[in-house]
Amino acid sequence: MKAAAFDYVKAKSLIEAIALLSEHGEDARLIAGGQTLLATLNLRLSEPSILIDITAVSELKGIFVQGNMLRIGALVTHTEIESSDLIAQHAPLLKEAAPHIAHRAIRNLGTWGGSLAYGDPAAEWPACSLALDAIMVIQGPSGARKVSAKDFFIDLYTTTLQVDEILVASEIPLASSNQVHSFQELARRHGDYAAVGLAAMIRTDKGKVQTCRLAFFSVAAIPTMASKAQAFIEGKSIDTALIQRAVNLAREEIETLADITNSQETKTHLLGVLLERALTKMMP
């Protein structure tokens, strides 16, 4: 099917992009990678009157180290993340997750910022941003603000981004030497939407877990952290007994939502399976 007619403008700067958004409001959509937007337009599930192309906005580009944080620009593509040395060194969880996103041709255009701004419950980057304590850098007509990942995803497909705001970049603490991670995703076929997924990160100190982050995706309306399981694990050493108890805790605390892939009960079961795999892998 062909998209309905729309106008198109390519913003030359962040200020121009924000001004255009303010001017057109809900009638405009931003286009970066367009891998979700254009499919939606082709199906006429959305008919904006104008697309604002932000791919030339330099403030949204690049991966670089800033102090003790790694800054990932909103326009960075999934492929760029997959092949970046900086990511491999400072946020290896993302390198492990990237190949799970759709297929290569989509990864070549799809962007970090696009995935976060849509906040699809089955997407990889929102969960990874939770697991890594990412901070979202947002710009609007009244200036810039920062929001931590755990306050960014508030409901199904709903983030704290206002209509006239643009996600500029994310800042992620550089991976420390005592940090390990695990990325788990179950999907019926490679590239399908996840049935259940987990982005996990642990920092240890003398064999005991100091920090534990367990961010599940495709289990509920938003990426969801197993905070009780996290709190239980912190301060202890990982062994098989602890893993079992953590799995039970996670299954109890997370209210799963069925979707077209699986029922609530199956999701609950599978999230425990993934947690066991992840903790086993991260066990020293």
């Binding site: 939606t40 199906l43 599930l45 906040g119 199904l156 939502l257 077209i260």
Partner: protein, 162 residues
């Protein structure tokens, strides 16, 4: 798809009943409602813009009420078309129960979504329906001047859609 739930609103039963039948209150409560018009005692027509993720689909639909027992319960049948996006059809039953802290609104809905929205959006139809219902009751309670005491127990079940 089945959507069943209960919401407790801090307002008396008669006010909740009036609210559910007042098109201006419904207009303010239904997320994305652009137009709403009462055609008769039993029929209401509306245009609603559904916004879920990347989807923006304008649905034109009608609601037909039946088995009306004032201040107690009613049934409704609804259908809407979203143009190229697809169509929705279903029925619902709403019951109002007076309690100490306010009115318990108990609802059960069965709906089917067809067309593109059903195929593509079908993945998250349950989560979307739950969000719409939650957003509706939050706004509705505010319109009544009462508080939504609990957004609880909304159970959604996905049935196989053709």
């Amino acid at each position: 798809m089945e959507l069943n739930g209960e919401q407790l609103i801090a307002a008396p039963v008669s006010r909740v009943w009036l609210g559910l039948n007042d098109v201006s209150i419904l207009h303010a409560s239904i997320p994305g409602c652009e137009e709403i018009e009462r055609i008769s005692d039993e029929e209401v027509r509306a245009k609603v813009m559904f916004k879920i993720g990347p989807v923006r689909a304008r649905f034109a639909g009608k609601l037909i009420l039946s088995d009306i027992v004032p201040d107690v319960s009613c049934s409704m049948a609804f259908e809407g078309t979203g143009g190229a996006a697809g169509f929705a059809k279903g029925k619902a039953r709403v019951e109002l129960i007076g309690t100490e802290s306010g009115t318990l609104v108990r609802y059960s809905t069965e709906a089917s979504i067809g067309g593109k929205l059903g195929q593509i959006g079908g993945r998250l139809i349950s989560a979307s329906a739950k969000k719409i219902a939650d957003d509706f009751f939050l706004a509705f309670a505010k319109e009544l001047g009462g508080e939504l005491i609990t957004l609880s127990d909304t159970k959604v079940e996905d049935k196989k859609e053709e």
